[in-house]
Symmetry: C2
């Protein structure tokens, strides 16, 4: 299966590498078709890895990962072309972090709206699934790296897309997945970032995740 | 030790009853000194239980629990009299939930501020510790009710007050306590409420809590 990744940062790199290891064909998209970071990633990941523009990667992927910085997400999705997302599962990992006022970051969209909802509005024919945004990228692709069994949330408007995403999450080692419902639930999971950042600072350790401990399943 | 509780709702009632069981003297405060709900609680809890106005309860307590609805917290703290909080550990459980726009609730303060910080500004000589606000009240007083070992966050500006609060949390069954730092960290824990509400709706079960699963302690 073909997967497009938008973003050449540490998140896109880590997700892309894991997907190659799992046997997927992966195209990493960036502003230019010859981006150096994407080229280095392709070189390191062999024949199933390729690169292109954001539009190339979105067009290529049967599934698309948004691994963009939150403040660039909407612009990049526009650049990639709405038509290239239609009918596809789009896994949104980006967070609306605002570093402009210093550390710790605040959120530039929150509470009564979410970045995932704004992205969904831009590409209404896409099936956005918000997930993985509440852990470090190394934990995203190997859930055991947090040292135990944690919980991953998914939300989105399309059940089939969530099912596809659950399969990939399982390949990443996530066993306890809670479906919160439609895409508006991204408000809740994006608003976990402030406590994530503060917990990271308190523990001085990014290898953690949230487990929903519960009495009845 | 004497504890004052502000609020006669389910949270104040549950916390107060547990504290009586633990051997504390507890005065429940409300708008009137003869509030019927407080009177019923006193009747059910014996000689170590008493009632009074908000000011009576705050004055009585060596430690004070704010078990108020979020939108009433600041008004009630004003009514109770700033001088009655001075130098005391004040455990803030209240959340800035805004139900005015329907369900699920949003927050009326968040992101770059928190209800705990606004309360701290009203009573600058008090030592506010934000904690317990991220679980159902039955889980607050008996951490095992979530069915496993979960994590409780504390934050506040005064280390001695946090130490006092940790002792009470331990009596409530909390074994894994993470100190996030100063009171501004309440932004993070108050912003967990949206995902709490959505998880509650998804699980149809309030007996859950958040565990920070981590590799290194």
């Amino acid at each position: 299966m073909k997967i497009g990744i938008l973003g050449t940062g540490i998140v896109g790199n880590t997700i892309g590498t894991k997907l190659i290891q799992l046997g997927y064909d992966v195209k990493m998209g960036s502003r230019s078709a010859t981006n150096e970071k994407a080229a280095a990633w392709v070189k390191a990941n062999g024949q199933k890895a390729s690169q292109g523009t954001f539009a190339d990667a979105a067009s290529f992927g049967e599934i698309i990962f948004l691994c963009t910085k939150g403040d660039a997400t909407l612009d990049i999705v526009r650049q990639a072309g709405a038509e290239n997302f239609s009918g596809k599962a789009v896994i949104d990992i980006s967070n609306p972090l605002d570093f402009s006022k210093g550390m710790p970051p605040s959120l530039f969209i929150s509470n009564t709206n979410s970045l995932a909802e704004e992205t969904q509005k831009l590409i209404p024919d896409a099936h956005i699934v918000k997930t993985l945004n509440i852990v470090n990228c190394e934990v995203m692709v190997d859930a055991t790296k947090c040292g135990g069994e944690a919980t991953m949330f998914v939300c989105g408007n399309n059940a089939d897309a969530k099912s596809v995403v659950r399969t990939i999450l399982a390949q990443f080692g996530w066993k306890d997945i809670i479906d919160l419902g439609d895409i508006t639930n991204a408000r809740g999971t994006e608003m976990m970032l402030p406590v994530w950042v503060r917990t990271w600072a308190a523990l001085q350790n990014a290898y953690f995740a949230f487990k929903i401990v519960r009495k009845f399943d």
